[in-house]
């Protein structure tokens, strides 16, 4: 009985030894970079199947054990944690390995807002995420250049990305127009357009344009902001006429830079003008005035 048990144990040990000898041992390069070739060594003999399971890819192919297996650069596109498995004769050997991103060649640029009043403090923000050519996120420090200009004049700043992100916050220019907001890393460049529009009206002034027996026509001077930019047509200007009998209000839109209102004639009235939170001058209408 003892002999029988001994023989059985020896048979099991031999079977295990043969099986272990046939099993593949995996070695993967430790400095793999996306887009660059690597070699994988699977020890053993005979045929096997290699599986490479990556963050955005899965590769499966037949391989000869005992030879170096070459993985082309274009096959290894995604950075992150990969799992290499070699299967042969019902046995699997596996190893996890890391693929780093390549050189920065691509950026994602978020720029806000698309339209902003002029001369606003810290009103414009830009955020850049840096990627390699396979769109793997590059988390190492990368200098990112931001430029914001209207008609060639503006700001230019270089920010080094931290954990894959570079951001900037800046004020809008004093002159209106389409600002070119450009972020660039190396040769990669992304442009956004930010429309800088006039701010609130400034120095709002009106005058009596016409006066008849039944009506008074008042109109503003060209309506501009404090930087001299024309306030866009369509902006509402409110004219208010106050007299003993009561009050008349007219909301007029700026047309071709000027707002105009027709008010009832009066012998003694005060007319005021306002746009947004800007108050303009007042006119006294009455008697011979």
């Amino acid at each position: 009985m003892r002999k029988l048990i001994l023989i059985a144990l020896m048979a099991i040990a031999c079977w295990y030894a043969v099986d272990s000898a046939n099993a593949a041992e995996l070695r993967v390069s430790s400095n793999a970079v996306a887009g660059q070739p690597i070699s994988i060594t699977a020890s053993g003999e005979g045929d096997g199947t290699l599986y490479l399971v990556g963050p955005g890819q899965v590769i499966k192919r037949s391989v000869k054990l005992g030879n170096d297996i070459q993985i082309k650069g274009e096959e290894l596109r995604t950075a992150g944690r990969w799992i290499a498995v070699v299967r042969s004769g019902g046995n699997s050997q596996s190893q996890a390995f890391w693929v780093k991103p390549g050189q920065p060649e691509n950026i994602n640029f978020l720029a806000r807002p698309s339209r902003v009043p002029v001369s606003q403090q810290n009103a414009i923000s830009g955020t850049v995420f840096v990627f390699d050519k396979f769109n793997n996120w590059v988390l190492g420090p990368v200098p990112v250049n931001f430029s914001l200009s209207v008609n060639g004049a503006g700001v230019n700043r270089t920010i080094t990305s931290h954990n894959g992100v570079a951001w900037i916050q800046t004020s809008s220019a004093s002159r209106g127009g389409a600002a070119q907001f450009v972020a660039s890393v190396g040769t990669a460049s992304v442009r956004r357009v930010i429309e800088q529009v006039a701010s609130q009206p400034c120095n709002l002034r009106m005058h009596l344009s016409q006066r008849t027996q039944n009506r008074i026509i008042v109109e503003t001077d060209p309506v501009r902001d404090c930087s001299g930019n024309a306030v866009p047509d369509g902006t509402i200007v409110t004219f208010t006429q106050s007299e003993k009998k009561g009050r008349s209000t007219v909301d007029a839109r700026i047309k071709k830079g000027i707002a105009r209102a027709e008010l009832p004639a009066s012998d003694n009235a005060m007319i005021s003008v306002a746009a947004g939170y800007t108050l303009g001058n007042e006119l006294h209408v009455g008697g011979g005035q």
Binding site: Y51, G56, V58, K60, R81, R87, L110, R112, F129, W137
Partner: protein, 186 residues
Amino acid sequence: MTGAMKRCATKAKPARILVLTLGIALTLSGAVPLLMRLLADTKPNVEINFDTAGPRQVEDTTQKAILRDYTSAWQAMVTALANNNAGPLRQNFVGFALDRFTQRIKDQQSNGVKTKIIDHGHKVDAIFYSQDGSAMQLRDTASIETQVLDGDTVIHSDQTQIQYWAVMTSAEDRWKLRVLESLPMQ
């Protein structure tokens, strides 16, 4: 009379045991897949620390939305990779992350491979919240158990901690995962 009853009871006993065993087997056959399905659809445990975010402070409503949508994104990814179905990804992913996982599922399908992820939880720090409130960067320490299956055969299994860096951006009605990159634990 008593003897006849005893004989009858003795004969009936194996039959009862058989019926009982069959009943239990039937119940288990229905309950186990149901339980597995329920466990698979369970939301992962995600904790997010928003105190580390800058330059903008994260609003309460945004904190709740990010927690909900990041959790939902992981749940969708686990389901999509296990079933080789990109459908759940579209509601939760956008941009590079959507492209990447969609491609992986295509590759899995063509090679007959599936990936089963058993998610043991995430400890997340919000790192960056953009001034305009449209993008948030997260650093996630995840405890993940990964099984790679060829057909129904498990060819690889491991459990490890992985650091993920993520970017979420605000979309039409939710935050979506735009970038998800894994790094070795530092």
